[in-house]
């Protein structure tokens, strides 16, 4: 794939890629933007190559996920060196909702986010990949780097739990 084609493909997948990055970064849009930038650099500089063995989107999501994990590892090591863990805990992004996101949040979104927040991380990722990104369970398994059987289990359990939680929240 040539560089202009690659850039055009990335631009086409950009909104979906950003949404996936936000999910991987626990809702932190600023961190998601940084991660996506690093993923773009990796791809455009040839450090991550698309070999055509899967769909472009699946591969791209895998690159984003790996970049998030690398960044977390790097931050953790930096935290060890500088004692930043203390500051990081104070600035726990998971606990602080994004004001911009809150401003436009609809009831539907709020309900969905609250229900998703009570699922395990794996289940959240599966729900996002299958229902939000319209990937198949096999593709989601490729993105998450897990066997299809395991992915199916996360999918079934996550879906059942999510449905129950949504019903519970609606009844309140």
């Amino acid at each position: 794939m040539t560089a202009p084609n690659l850039e055009a493909d990335l631009e086409r997948e950009h909104p979906r890629g950003f949404a996936w990055a936000v999910r991987c970064c626990d809702g932190d849009r600023s961190e998601a933007e940084d991660v996506l930038h690093l993923a773009y650099l990796k791809i455009l500089e040839g450090r991550a190559r698309f070999d055509g063995r899967s769909a472009f989107r699946t591969w791209f999501f895998g690159v984003i996920r790996r970049t998030v994990l690398e960044q977390r590892r790097r931050r953790w090591l930096q935290g060890l060196r500088f004692g930043e863990w203390f500051a990081a805990r104070r600035e726990d992004h998971r606990a602080v909702p994004d004001p911009a996101a809150l401003a436009v949040a609809s009831d539907t979104r709020e309900r969905l986010e609250r229900a998703l927040g009570r699922l395990s991380r794996r289940q959240q990722e599966m729900m996002h990949l299958v229902f939000y990104q319209d990937l198949s369970i096999q593709e989601a398994a490729q993105v998450l780097g897990m066997p299809v059987g395991t992915a199916r289990t996360h999918y079934q359990r996550g879906k059942a739990r999510l449905r129950g939680l949504l019903r519970e929240l609606e009844a309140r």
């Binding site: 950009h14 950003f18 949404a19 600023s30 933007e33 930038h37 773009y40 911009a100 729900m127 939000y132």
Partner: protein
């Protein structure tokens, strides 16, 4: 592949949020260039510098104190400690004093008979 009916509701919910999300995705060009706004960055740098400075000052102070105090003499320290221990008095010591205790600390003189005593 057709969507099972029980999944349709979930798909619709996610589709609604997707429409909202796509409307406020940061532009591709900005993300590509890595120009995300970072309001917290200067504060983090400041915090790191302050932490590093604090640790350095503490190390210098500890080093200076160690040099100024010089080597310790273990015998002198033990002697000072022994003085302290022996000089110590309990605050309830007075409870052990009994009336007339001063007579017990003197020896009576029995060698002389006073002139007014009738046995002379």
């Amino acid at each position: 592949m057709s969507t099972p009916p029980e999944d349709r509701e979930l798909r619709e919910l996610f589709a609604q949020t997707r429409v909202e999300d796509f409307g406020r995705t940061p532009p591709f060009a900005r993300v590509r260039r890595g120009q995300a706004p970072r309001p917290l960055a200067p504060r983090r740098v400041g915090l790191r510098v302050a932490l590093a400075g604090g640790v350095a000052m503490l190390l210098v102070a500890v080093g200076a104190l160690t040099v100024l105090r010089g080597p310790r003499d273990p015998d002198a320290e033990a002697l000072a400690l022994a003085h302290q221990v022996s000089a110590w008095r309990s605050p309830t010591d007075f409870l052990l004093d009994i009336p007339g205790a001063e007579y017990l600390r003197t020896i009576p003189d029995i060698g002389e008979v006073p002139p007014w005593y009738p046995l002379h």
